[in-house]
């Protein structure tokens, strides 16, 4: 068959290592990343890339990664823009593997985007690791998806953590819920429901949803305020809409206990602009990383190192976005996996990752560790509850 004869030529994976250890040469490790660098979420993508780059460059400047075969290698990161389009993410993955010869693709951003990549990773047998998404599908079934793993706590885990705040009130309360109209929002609510199971906490009659592209959520908050619930779970992932929600609640003279997800908890970005800091008595949120702008970490060594490295290696990225911290910490996690690899193949990498345990990954909160061996769970799956008081967030002690 002509097809068979000709398929061989020109179609091998290209440079970057030998046939048997793709991506790893004697002196370099080649990896790839695909993030949105254009379009509306480009600042998040740029921050994600910037954080990763800052860590890898710092490691390279100190000589490189010392791997178990005794060699120290520098990390070469190739990045492509996917404009947040799943089709492009999938194609970028192929390109990184088949044209650029990457060992693995690390720290991609976006749920649908990485869901599109997942089958390709499986087809090609290439690691798609430490996906920056809270969707559980990346870590949930290692047997079905041997080449893929997530990283951060899932949306369910966050929802469950927030449930503790409601339970800690220690009395029968109703919870009004505003959530994003998609899987993220659903997962959040599922986690919350799991957390309040069997407790005195119940959901209020109606659950309000919103679309990420909405102008305001005034109408939804009006409906929720009418339930007179004592707790508001404002699972809003869009900063401007979270501001809108809290402002409206304040205007309506409604003062529930407020539960906020990690991405829209910021003091300067959300609480102050909406007046929430001065108005609500109790605000809770979750977290698993150190917020660089939080004064309590101003003399923390990991944070000062992070800030310095971001300035030095990724000045155009916004170091205050959570994505920058995620990119940095996933890079650190990956380097740890490289250090614990026995052998140089992709399979060796996945084996190392599936066994990975580390409690000293920079920028993770004290007590938050990486444990990728917990089957079905994301490597980082501890998320802590915080209470906002006196102008800052502090760890809440659930009673």
């Amino acid at each position: 068959m002509m097809g068979m004869a000709l398929t061989a030529c020109g179609r091998d994976e290209s440079s970057g290592g030998t046939q048997s250890t793709p991506g790893i040469s004697d002196s370099t490790v080649k990896i790839g990343i695909s993030v949105p660098l254009s379009g509306p979420v480009s600042d998040a993508g740029t921050a994600q890339l910037g954080g990763a780059k800052a860590y890898y460059e710092a490691i390279n400047a100190a000589g490189g990664v010392r791997m178990r075969d005794g060699k120290t290698r520098k990390i070469e990161l190739t990045s492509y823009d996917d404009g947040y389009e799943p089709g492009r993410s999938a194609q970028n993955f192929r390109r990184l593997v088949q044209q650029d010869g990457a060992l693995a693709v690390v720290g991609g951003l976006g749920t649908a985007q990485n869901a599109a990549v997942l089958p390709v990773a499986k087809e090609l047998g290439v690691p798609q690791v430490f996906v920056a998404s809270g969707a559980s599908l990346f870590s949930a079934k290692p047997a079905d998806n041997p080449w893929t793993i997530g990283w951060q706590p899932t949306y369910e885990a966050e929802g469950e953590a927030l449930a503790q705040a409601a339970i800690a009130l220690n009395r029968p309360v109703t919870v009004a819920v505003l959530r994003q109209n998609d899987d993220l929002g659903k997962a959040f609510l599922n986690g919350f429901n799991k957390g309040i199971e069997g407790s005195q906490v119940k959901l209020a009659g109606t659950i309000q949803t919103y679309e990420a592209a909405d102008t305001t959520v005034d109408s939804q908050i009006t409906n929720l305020a009418a339930t007179k619930a004592e707790v508001l779970l404002s699972a809003v992932a869009v900063v401007r809409l979270q501001i809108s929600a809290l402002t409206k609640a304040r205007e309506l003279n409604w003062k529930p206990v407020v539960l906020l997800p990690g991405f829209t908890q910021g003091f300067s970005t959300v609480l102050k602009p909406s007046g929430a800091d001065a108005y609500f008595d109790q605000i809770y949120s979750t977290g698993f990383v150190k917020i660089p702008s939080d004064p309590q970490w101003s003399s923390d060594q990991a944070v000062t190192e992070f800030t310095g490295r971001m300035k030095q290696y990724s000045p155009q990225a916004n170091a205050n976005l959570p994505n920058a911290v995620w990119g940095y910490a996933t890079a650190a996690t990956f380097v740890r996996a490289l250090e614990t690899m026995d052998g140089l193949t992709r399979q060796n990498l996945m084996d190392a990752i599936r066994k990975l345990k580390a409690d000293d990954i920079p920028m993770l909160l004290p007590g938050v560790t990486v444990d990728a061996s917990a089957a079905g769970k994301s490597p980082v799956n501890v998320t802590k509850l915080f209470k906002f008081a006196d102008g800052k967030y502090s760890l809440a002690q659930p009673s």
Binding site: G3, G87, R94, A135
Partner: protein
Amino acid sequence: MRRTWYRAGALAAGIIVLAVLPLNSTPYTNYQVALVATYAVAILGLNLVSGYAGQISLGQSAFFGLGGYCAAIATARAGWPLPASFLLACALPAAVGLLIAIPAVRLRGHGLAIFTLALPLIGVALAKRFLDLTGGSEGLSARIARVPGWTGLDIDQWTYYVVLAIAGALFLLARNMVTGRLGRALSTVRENEVVAASMGISPRRYKALAFAMAAAYGGAAGWLYVYTIGFVSPVEMELLLSINLLAMMIVGGMGSVLGSLLGGVLYVYVPIVAGTVDPVRTTLLYGAILVLVLFLAPGGIARALHRTGDWLSDLRARKGPGPPAPGDRDLGDDWRRRASAPEETRKVHGATTQRLPRARGGDRDDGNGSHRLRTRRE
């Protein structure tokens, strides 16, 4: 005569290159080419309704996504054979398109554009709402391509051939349609609805038909997309895709079959080129290219190529440029020559130049006699 030989030769060469390409390229490249063909089909559909029938449509992405979901749900989930899901991917959007077009064509120009603008928004919302069927915002994985063993090809090569073959057939079909009665009817409707009606061509019917065809092509493109990428999500229905398809259609060449192909190439490769320079400037690049092309070559790149071809062959024949020979004129020329827009009472903005038809190269009369419309408000 010579021109036809050159064209045939170029076409044959092109086909040979395309046929051999996948055997030596990486799967990445093969899938990229398949994507170019996919988007070219979507743009071709858009051309039918916007370029030929003159109706602006910002809803093409909704049909694209719908076709994609048909492919994913019918084949991957419900186990339908591929040809069946392909037919569904064409027919369902066409039906939806027709349903929408029936009231829509009664709206005046602006009304239709805004109507179509809302389609992607509603499409995305529906895709997310029926998430048990569609997988919601996480999307749906649907690897529906299967290589028959006897070919000895790898799956990416097989996908390439299938997609290009289907796209080629769709292109041929479109070309036959627009160079025949349908194309002439659409041109007449576009140029002057009143005259068309007087000739027995119902503007509403033909506009609705064009819209349905555009939807069918959009759906087919969506099917091809899922065949290639193996994944569909609400992102494929988003408004930005519609806007970019429209923009690339113009840049490629409105009212031109070749232009649609160029549009597909541009759609896939402009972001990649922008990425090598500075990805953050991608939107800026899209807009700049569009505005530049509109300024310098409103007929798009295809028109510019035709003109160059005309000019070259005239040089050879006459040793000097002259009016294009009648047979060489691409049907897409029509839209450029209009003196006034008939359908809506066009608020004419600018009388700094005469509004008479411009004498350029000879045949201005399109056979219907373009009438200058006087409009008055009452």
